[in-house]
């Protein structure tokens, strides 16, 4: 009854091509942003911030990245964890780099955090292009297994080469305390969760907006053509090499930023093992449950997979059941697996598709005929 686009006329091409052509969607979107930026920091307590909202935002960047590669460009990848690790360690090296000493200045000087994150993304993009090269020849599941080479090799590299951890004996990197503006600390142990959250949220909004727009321009359409049938795409004049490598670059850029955000804004200190193959699978689950080839789906999937373990761990306690810890962890595995199968059977196109169906229904409600 309320969700009608009747009477909303578009007078220009720009109005017709905007991201949210329906006014109600626009209002919902701005309300969501307002809530996320203003209301959530006031309401949520530190526990919620640190254990639910921040990991959710970090993982949604990662799943945006993988969705670009797998959902839009059709290149199945299991190397997400490795690329996130690259981002984390690149950010660590950049943020501890003393520019002052390098250029012979009197005072030590460090890169600004914004540049650290950007630089981590760019470095990871370069690594991603390197490991994306085989995709020009290898396709499908063969490529998926080949990307595991990136996953294992990168983790091994960060474990073995002490230069990456600044020769720390434990192999763990810790985020150095840095300010975004004078007086506003965003990383390190002194940073307040709310500042971290707001910084991360702005990052997510910018990245999501960027991804959405890239998907609407010629590059995004070229990716979808490659995904649907690469030979046909090649024949109509899309260069497979350039397009596929661009997908790997942009996807790794996002994953790199996600990794940096994981290390700097979420856990604060991290070791290579934190980005194991489990992480790669988790991100893949997110985009499949959320919806392949959908920006919205990346967020829905990230929310689902981050919230599910929290629910599973706290659920029995809330219900008053007293189950031994090791049984709970096994049951968690089972329920997680069963839910994934359930969701795939019910809606193989993911939560984003469910959302779309709901909107279609809403447009006709309450008179579906």
């Amino acid at each position: 009854m309320f969700y009608r686009e009747a009477g909303q006329f578009k007078a220009s091409y720009a109005a017709d091509q905007q991201i949210f052509p329906i006014r109600q969607d626009r209002i919902a979107y701005y309300t969501l942003l307002a809530v996320a930026f203003a209301a959530v920091p006031m309401v949520a307590n530190e526990y919620w911030m640190a254990t639910i909202l921040i990991p959710f935002l970090v993982m949604s960047i990662a799943s945006l990245g993988l969705n670009i590669l797998t959902g839009y460009a059709g290149q199945l990848s299991l190397g997400t964890g490795g690329f996130m690790a690259t981002g984390a360690f690149a950010a660590y090296k950049l943020s501890t780099w003393d520019i002052g000493a390098t250029f012979g200045l009197a005072e030590p000087m460090h890169l600004h955090m914004v540049f650290v994150f950007l630089g981590a993304g760019v470095i990871t993009a370069a690594v991603g292009v390197l490991f994306g090269m085989p995709s020009l020849r290898i396709k499908g599941f063969y490529l998926a297994v080949a990307t595991l080479a990136a996953q294992f090799f990168l983790l091994w590299l960060f474990n073995k080469v002490p230069w990456f951890t600044n020769y720390s004996t434990s192999g763990v990197i810790s985020a150095p305390p840095r300010e975004l503006f004078p007086g506003v600390v965003i990383t390190g142990p002194m940073a307040h969760p709310v500042t971290k959250y707001l910084f991360l949220l702005s990052l997510v909004v910018l990245l999501a907006l960027g991804a959405k727009n890239i998907m609407r321009c010629h590059l995004g359409r070229a990716w979808m053509a490659i995904r649907d049938m690469d030979i046909a795409a090649e024949i109509i004049g899309i260069r497979p090499m350039r397009t596929k490598l661009a997908a790997f670059a942009l996807s790794s850029f996002y994953c790199g930023i996600a990794g940096a955000a994981w290390a700097f804004l979420y856990t604060g200190s991290v070791e290579p093992l934190a980005f194991s193959i489990e992480v790669s699978f988790k991100v893949l689950f997110m985009i499949i449950i959320g919806g392949l080839g959908s920006i919205m789906g990346s967020f829905l999937g990230a929310a689902f997979i981050t919230l599910l373990p929290v629910l599973l761990t706290n659920g029995p306690r809330l219900l008053g059941l007293n189950i031994p810890v090791d049984i709970i962890s096994h049951l968690e595995f089972m329920i997680f697996g069963a839910l994934i199968i359930f969701f795939l059977i019910v809606e193989p196109h993911g939560l984003a598709r469910l959302w779309q169906i709901a909107k279609e229904k809403l447009r006709l409600w309450p008179f579906p005929y």
Partner: protein, 311 residues
Amino acid sequence: MDFLYNILVAPFAMIGAAPSFFVEVLIGGLLSGVMYSLVALGFVLIFKASGVFNFAQGAMVLFAALFFAGFMDKGIPWYGALPLTVLVMLVLAMGIERVVLRPLVNQPHIILFMATIGVSYFLDGLGQTIWGSEMRVLNIGIPQNPINMGPIQVNAFDIVAAVVAGSLVAALALFFQYTRIGRALRAVADDHQAALSVGIPLKTIWAIVWTVAGVVGLVAGVMWGAKLGVQFSLAMVALKALPVLILGGFTSIPGAIVGGLIIGAGEKVAEVFWADAIGGGIEDWFAYMLALAFLLFRPQGLFGDKIIERV
């Protein structure tokens, strides 16, 4: 310069100085490669018959090994535990076919792949809920002592494993070649729709294939379990089988064997002769890099079906 010397010259000098040691390492690698082939075989069977990339094979290996070890701990001798476990794998295969595969018919491959990852989570949880997560020692009386063959030493266990794998492959080949079901399996692997149209029951065939893969997983689980003990890390063996699989090709049983031999030998040789130069622990990724290098020249693996693409 030093680094290049350590990579390009020193290992070969070492090999040249002690060729019998090199042969020993090589044979050890080949025999341990057979163990990877055992796991890869299960993948190949299912991929051939249903086009599903079954990531749950590793979990099935663990699941079967847990049941086998669990039955034996309950005092059942191995000749009783074996058929019981086969029965469990049969029930499991029918369950997977009914609950997971049937509703997902005609979905894209990636969806089925994700579903099998879900299955592997489920099996990991279920097996450990039933049998607990502590490590079990599986002793089925295979000798572990080294045997001297002329100048080189070989582990008796590895030889037994190789013989078991060899007879398993032979049995599978006979089963596929000479039985009615085997013929039906090959028909389904060749063309689903053609097989359906001549009256081959696809659902039954899938259940059979998953059972066979489960039995292969059981053999792999018993062998790996006897070597490492039955524990959660057994499921990770699947990650070792993946490079074997892409090297040999997803659709070829001989490919799984040859791939296993190449990966096993390459990994051992690299670990012994090159690990010093580039730092230890390279077995995590070396197999993948080796497989990747092969794939660049043959994108469908060594023995895989030629990929023909049409617009």
